[in-house]
Symmetry: C2
């Protein structure tokens, strides 16, 4: 049995709590946080974090908190045996090097309160300061997910950046598409099958191979018509920049 | 039984041919094209289009060809009874107004040779010059898909533009994410669950509500770190422009 303490009460804390509680191999000893309203979600394990609050001894301490507070909050853990890990994509592991045992447990997924996630399908990126700690984090990862990877801090920074493109920026493009549909009283749901197919395609072949559209074809006439339909300058700029990027990327590959 | 002629041999022609052939209510009388190699896919219905080739009389003629050739090729159809339709997102219906009966049958999906599509889930955008023709196109749409919409040429132009954002541009962001992973020897497949979840989310709530990430939070420190990781100027420009767009869109909604 692996015992865990979760520090934090946000989306990642909630998902870890839920999935750890469901596992026969993991116990959540304590969830500690400063937001008493948010703590209610965590039932009996919830502990309000105040000055001098003692944390329950655990095998692993999860810092499921915002990047800027990881160092400071990690100092609350006073346990030379337990492994102190953060769950951030962009913070180096070494921020925890004041501890004897430390590492990273980064679930690569977008978590929201509204949607439940099948955690078995979430890739877990693991890093640790010793072989033994890495092995413990692996064991934990395997009990909740079907895939985990050993990823060092440099790689993780890049994965986080790639995720900003694949998730944050993509979502903003969906938002622009949504606005365009709304202006013409077209339901956004008409685009759902296209959006899902676009996402599914790249599991099978490199996105480079899957590129289509006026910019790929070098079809300037359609691009001009599209630009004239867009009203906002920001949307025009995005259209132009991304079209130019696609044309440049595929310029030696025109039909 | 609805009889059809397909003119063209590309991806859309192939998908229409396949799905029409599988329907008990539709007959493909002929597939006509200029590319004899591509015509082989269409078996006995294939007809090489040369000067003076006569088209078989049909209820509906599909011009599944590139936008620029729709007007010219439509002149080959010499039938005042059959409905002449194109399958393009961006070309107005009126390009076919030399005919007595005409319309548009635009399947809103990204078609590639490699992947089979469940046509039942493809939204069909229909437009026609008369009620009767619209009703015939509806009947055809219903026999191959679970959803069709009456969409006029103005709306269709906007849908096509929205699709460029949701498909073409999104795919290019996937390509950038792919390159970032490749540089760090990380398999791109690590991002697949994130990409699929990002796409699935917006079927349930507006993309605006689903936005996350450093630009949404106004987290400039992370944005600077990300910019320093990017090597290409074009990628830096895309990062900056999309981050600014997200920040601006959500500026009254910071946490």
């Amino acid at each position: 049995m692996i015992t865990t303490t979760i520090i934090g009460t946000g989306n990642i804390a909630r998902h870890l709590y839920r999935v750890f509680s469901q596992s026969d191999e993991i116990t959540v000893s304590q969830v500690a946080g400063r937001n008493s309203a948010a703590l209610k979600y965590f039932g009996e394990t919830a502990t309000l974090l105040e000055n001098g609050t003692a944390l329950v001894k655990s095998d692993i301490y999860f810092l499921a908190i915002s990047d800027d507070h990881i160092f400071e909050v990690s100092e609350l853990v006073n346990d030379s045996k337990g492994v102190v890990v953060h769950t951030s994509g962009s913070v180096p592991m070494q921020v925890l090097s004041n501890h004897t045992n430390y590492g990273v447990f980064y679930p690569l997924q977008t978590f929201s309160k509204q949607r439940s996630i099948n955690f078995k399908e979430v890739p877990i990126c693991i890093e640790a300061n010793t072989e033994k700690n890495r092995s413990l984090l692996s064991q934990l990862a395997m009990s909740v997910s079907d895939q985990h990877y050993y990823i060092d801090s440099e790689q993780r920074k890049s994965i986080h950046l790639a995720a900003v493109f694949a998730n944050n920026f993509t979502n903003h493009l969906y938002h622009i598409a949504h606005s365009i549909c709304a202006e013409q009283q077209v339901p956004f749901s008409i685009l759902s099958p296209l959006i899902l197919e676009t996402a599914a395609k790249v599991s099978e072949a490199a996105p480079y191979e899957m590129q289509t559209g006026p910019a790929k074809r070098g079809d300037l006439k359609t691009q001009e018509r599209h630009l004239s339909l867009l009203e906002g300058q920001l949307e025009k700029d995005i259209y132009t920049l991304l079209s130019n990027a696609i044309t440049k990327t595929h310029q030696n590959n025109q039909p």
